[in-house]
């Protein structure tokens, strides 16, 4: 069995701050991480690997520095890592991204493709299902549970007020939710091997059989009309406590903030 996991390197949005003057994101100095839903996808693949001996390949499209996300995937235990990178892929919207990734995945053998539901820096949730469309594969999104069977999967799909149990035959694509699992830590030895023993395969435009009008900024049908900063309001905390407990909680919080 061969599993391909699509991952994206994203800025750690919990540390992103807004420029108070321009209202834009300050990205400098913000550490990059593997997108959380994608990391759950990696973990799901590694658990299947542990059970079935499957081979896991992580793939990402991004600038050269996205290599770090792949090294992290290697340190978690994936067998192979592919970086799809080229200046001509730059500025891609979800269409151009999925088109390019699908072209890359077509070069691989696979039974299962796992992507994250959505990336925390874009929140579109489009790339996974679009890859499935390009590759003409069945896909199930919002997966929060996986059982591997002979030749198919039984997946639990999250829905607004319920969930669906879906049987899906290989080859197929699923999009993973962070709720799917608790991703493992890298091991120290895994980190050393990821840098010292393992190689990352790099594919540029030259390596892909792809219609050049469908890639990068030029191949992106999405036109951004306007960007603006969302008015941020801190999320409130709702508590259901006895009046006495509530009061001591409040006092505790005020003390924490040195107001009391």
């Amino acid at each position: 069995m061969k599993i391909v996991v699509c991952i994206k390197q994203v800025p750690n949005t919990s540390e992103v701050k807004l420029d108070p003057v321009t209202g834009t994101l300050i990205r400098e100095g913000i550490p990059s991480i593997i997108n959380p839903d994608d990391k759950a996808g990696l973990e799901a693949a590694l658990r299947i690997k542990e059970k079935t001996g499957a081979k896991v390949c992580a793939i990402t499209m991004g600038p050269p520095q996205a290599e770090k996300a792949l090294r992290e995937a290697l340190a978690m235990g994936v067998d192979e890592a592919i970086l799809v990178t080229d200046r001509k892929f730059g500025g891609a919207d979800t269409w151009a991204t999925s088109f390019t990734l699908a072209a890359a995945i077509r070069k691989l053998n696979y039974d299962l493709i796992i992507t994250g539901r959505q990336a925390i820096d874009g929140d579109t949730a489009q790339v996974g299902p679009q890859i499935a469309e390009h590759l003409k594969l069945p896909s199930v999104s919002y997966v929060e549970g996986i059982q591997v069977k002979d030749g198919h999967l039984i997946v639990k799909r999250q829905y607004e007020d319920r969930y669906h149990m879906i049987k899906v035959h290989f080859p197929c694509l699923i999009t993973a939710l962070s709720e799917l699992n608790e991703p493992r830590y890298m091991t120290p030895g895994g980190v050393f091997d990821a840098y010292r023993e393992k190689e990352i395969t790099v594919w540029t435009l030259e390596d892909l059989d792809v219609d050049r009008t469908q890639i990068g900024l030029k191949g992106s049908p999405t036109k951004v009309y306007k960007s603006f900063a969302k008015q941020l309001k801190p999320a409130g905390t709702v508590l259901t406590l006895d009046p006495e407990e509530a009061a001591s909680y409040l006092v505790e919080k005020l003390k924490e903030k040195h107001i009391l």
Partner: protein
């Protein structure tokens, strides 16, 4: 000369920080308050390979290096010094001597499960009358057929009661002084071996520090580590390496206290502005940062010397001497900058100040480090 960490060490730093933040820090207060050995954190450390970082893969280790190892001690100790010393005593003192001096059979039988995190290690040199003066050992080992018979006791043994394997020093020939000391690998279930009184300590209160008692304890003769009479060499070599671990622990405590203090002085307001706006605070923070960075350079240098297989005894002693002093100074200042709150147990700097003190004492007091350094320079 290159002061930059490699990419793999940078990534390890991220890993260690994340692990410490999620798996260690939330329990640090409770571990201290209740003097509770953090068994759950230790199990996770074992599961994720933290107990065998510098050992070769063939012996169950992670195949990383000393720098990778001491960075782990640093980051764990920044969150919880108890957790830091558990890993340090296990790795540097319990497992490392087997890598250095063990037979292939001893490595297979003991080092492998220790490095894989299946067993926990400890090291026993100190006795009631033999601390810094290691030659005053009273524990005796006498060969009787296929076994050595050990009699005596050890005190202040880190990880005691939780460890599966103990490296124990005992006299095989009292007349030869330090050359009469031999090292043994003792399993926790050996007949005649038991763990005695637990110490109640000022700091690192979650770490288990106990007495070990040997009453006609039978140890198979193949568990002699190195040769008869070479125990002092085993101990001194082991402690040289152990010092880098303790230096890293001290460094981590200092960094942890600084991080807490930076957070506090930015939040805390007096006279209408945050403490961080006062120049006295700024200058204190500048001093703390600078000293920590100087300590870090010494600690990392000692680790790099060890990795490069260069003599590192002096470097390790300097690193431990300096980092321990910095830990004490920085944590004391951290409490001061926290004012009255800093003296309460609601803030972790109080614990860190108590934890810091031991780094000036164990695995060679600061005075012993000065002896080692001066002997290297003067002789």
């Amino acid at each position: 000369m290159d002061f930059f960490l490699s990419q793999e060490h940078e990534m390890l730093r991220t890993l260690y920080k994340e692990f410490a933040e999620r798996e260690v820090k939330p329990f640090a207060q409770e571990v201290d308050e209740e003097e509770k050995f953090p068994i759950e954190s230790v199990k996770k450390l074992q599961k994720y390979g933290f107990m065998g970082i510098p050992f070769p893969k063939q012996f169950g280790g992670q195949g990383a290096d000393t720098l990778a190892y001491i960075m782990a001690i640093e980051e764990l100790s920044a969150a919880c010094a108890t957790t830091g010393v558990i890993v340090s005593a296990h790795t540097s003192l319990g497992a490392h001597p087997i890598l250095e001096f063990g037979t292939p059979e001893q490595k297979e039988k003991y080092l492998k499960p220790l490095a894989e995190g299946k067993l926990l290690g400890a090291f026993a040199l100190t006795e009631p009358n033999a601390g810094t003066d290691a030659a005053g050992q009273q524990t005796k080992a006498v060969l009787d057929g296929d076994h050595y018979i050990l009699n005596g006791s050890k005190i202040f043994i880190t990880n005691a009661g939780y460890a599966d394997i103990y490296i124990v020093m005992a006299m095989t020939d009292k007349s030869k002084g330090t050359r009469g000391i031999s090292a043994f690998i003792v399993e926790k279930d050996s007949p005649g071996f038991r763990v005695g009184k637990k110490e109640l300590k000022m700091g690192i209160r979650g770490s288990s520090t106990c007495e070990l008692i040997f009453e006609n304890c039978r140890v198979p003769k193949e568990n002699l580590l190195s040769k008869e009479g070479k125990g002092f060499k085993v101990a001194m070599n082991t402690l040289d390496g152990g010092r880098i671990g303790i230096a890293a622990q001290a460094l981590g405590i200092a960094q942890g206290a600084l991080d807490e203090t930076i957070k506090y002085v930015k939040e805390r307001k007096q006279f209408g502005r945050s403490l961080s706006k006062f120049q006295i605070t700024q200058f204190e923070i500048a001093d703390m940062c600078t000293k920590i960075e100087a300590a870090r350079m010494l600690v990392y240098k000692a680790a790099c010397y060890k990795d490069a297989k260069k003599p590192f005894g002096k470097e390790a002693a300097m690193a431990k001497l300096f980092a321990a002093e910095v830990a004490m100074e920085v944590t004391t200042k951290a409490v001061q900058l926290h004012g009255g709150y800093g003296y309460t147990r609601d803030y972790s700097v109080e614990r860190m100040m108590r934890d810091a003190k031991i780094t000036e004492i164990y695995e060679g007091t600061s005075e012993v480090q000065k002896m080692v350094i001066s002997a290297n320079v003067l002789n």
